[in-house]
Amino acid sequence: MRLPLLALLARGPAHGYELKQDLEQLLGSAYPQPNVGQVYVTLGRLEKSGLIEGEEVEQSSRPNKKIYHLTDAGREALRAWYEETADEPRVRDEFFMKLALAPQTGLADQIALINKQRRQYLNTMRNLSKLAAAENRDNRISQLLIEGAMLHLQADLDWLERCQEELE
């Protein structure tokens, strides 16, 4: 969550709770309940590494809040983030290992493994569909995130199908 927080701060100074709300609004229900504690911990680490700076602001009748802003080093880190491309998603390597090794162990049947895994993916797919239906249709970022997850899962399911065709 480090870099997304830096990216939010590129727009201007903000305090932790604001950042949590910004993330929530941007990503909608596709983002599982941003944990405010995690946001504060990450901000602390970013400050320690000099990428952001916090300033205590006094509030009457409430505890002080800390407003963070991006440092030059932070802006540089963000620029570097945008320079590089992201890693490809990885093949489900744990499942693949189970499948590849199953015949040698004599403990599991490959087709039964595939069926079990497919059930789980289908249930997740169903939950994603429900999430997409429940989410605000106008939140394009959130809808795209869910659609991306569904397309990945579709690919995993297609691959299970290939495994089943080959191994049956």
């Binding site: 599982p32 995690q38 069926n115 497919r118 289908l122 997740t124 994603l128 990945h152 579709q154 297609d158």
Partner: protein
């Protein structure tokens, strides 16, 4: 859809003992050039009223043949099909054609609309063929097209519509006689991602109102709208899974979407 117009004798429950559709020992082999293709190799299946069942599997697994057998579009080499408890062994072509107007609605991958009839006429035709009065047919058509967001396309010809719109017309046509069973053969097979979502949404909506649906698809997104998914491989049922049971302990959605620190 139109519950008030449905003469339902007494309350019916979802745990109805007689399945709406039952198949036993279905076998179908295609003899063409080359080796015979064993499309369906011994399938037993029961679909209860109100169920939404998806059949998925690789192309060539025989899932479309299975659907065609269930709709009487092809006849099995062996095995039997019961509609609402009634054995269809003795049905001829004509009887199946009647059932496809009354008890079974079908949508296909390539829509199969009558190209020289308007959208409105395409939807009204099966109602008129089933002996519904022209007035009633028009009323049903208006209701459905309105519901499917096609009110302003009534006078269009099928060729003037997008794929997604044509599939919605096909859906209206399939449902105009309130068939208890809807069969869908790759209904999103020639649609883009947006069209697929649209069809998924509509099938879910009709299902929520009690429509029984059997869907054949290779699209997992569409299949996951169903509450039961049958995996079909090499002419046989490889797995038959109820979806939406107890939430699994697996990371599931949040694992897919979570931002990692």
């Amino acid at each position: 859809m139109n519950a008030a117009a449905d003469p339902v004798p007494g309350p019916h429950t979802t745990s109805d003992p007689v399945p709406l559709l039952r198949a036993e020992g279905l076998v179908k082999t295609h003899y063409g050039e080359g080796a015979p293709a064993h499309a369906v190799r011994g399938v037993d299946l029961a679909v209860r009223k109100g169920e939404f069942v998806a059949v998925t599997g690789p192309s060539g697994a025989g899932k479309s043949t299975l659907l065609h057998l269930l709709g009487g579009l092809q006849r099995p080499d062996a095995g039997s099909i019961w509609l609402d408890g009634e054995c269809t062994d003795g049905y001829g072509e004509a009887r199946w054609a009647v059932e496809r107007r009354r008890r079974i609605g079908i949508v296909f991958q390539f829509f199969n609309l009558v190209s020289n009839l308007s959208v409105a006429d395409n939807v009204e035709l099966p109602a008129l063929l089933a002996g519904v009065s022209p007035r009633q047919a028009r009323a049903e058509r208006e209701l459905l097209l309105d519901e499917l967001g096609l009110k302003d396309k009534e006078r269009s010809m099928p060729g003037e519509l997008s794929g997604g719109e044509q599939q919605r017309v096909a859906l209206a046509r399939a449902l105009v006689n309130h068939p208890p069973l809807l069969l869908a053969d790759e209904p999103a097979g020639s649609l883009d991602s947006k069209g697929t979502r649209e069809v998924t949404r509509l099938l879910s909506r009709f299902h929520q109102r009690g429509q029984t649906i059997v869907l054949v698809t290779h699209d997992a997104r569409l299949a996951s709208a169903a509450d039961r998914v049958i995996s079909f491989f090499d002419g046989r049922i490889a797995d038959d899974a109820e979806l939406g049971g107890a939430p699994s302990r697996a990371p599931g959605i949040s694992g897919v979407l979570e931002l990692k620190d």
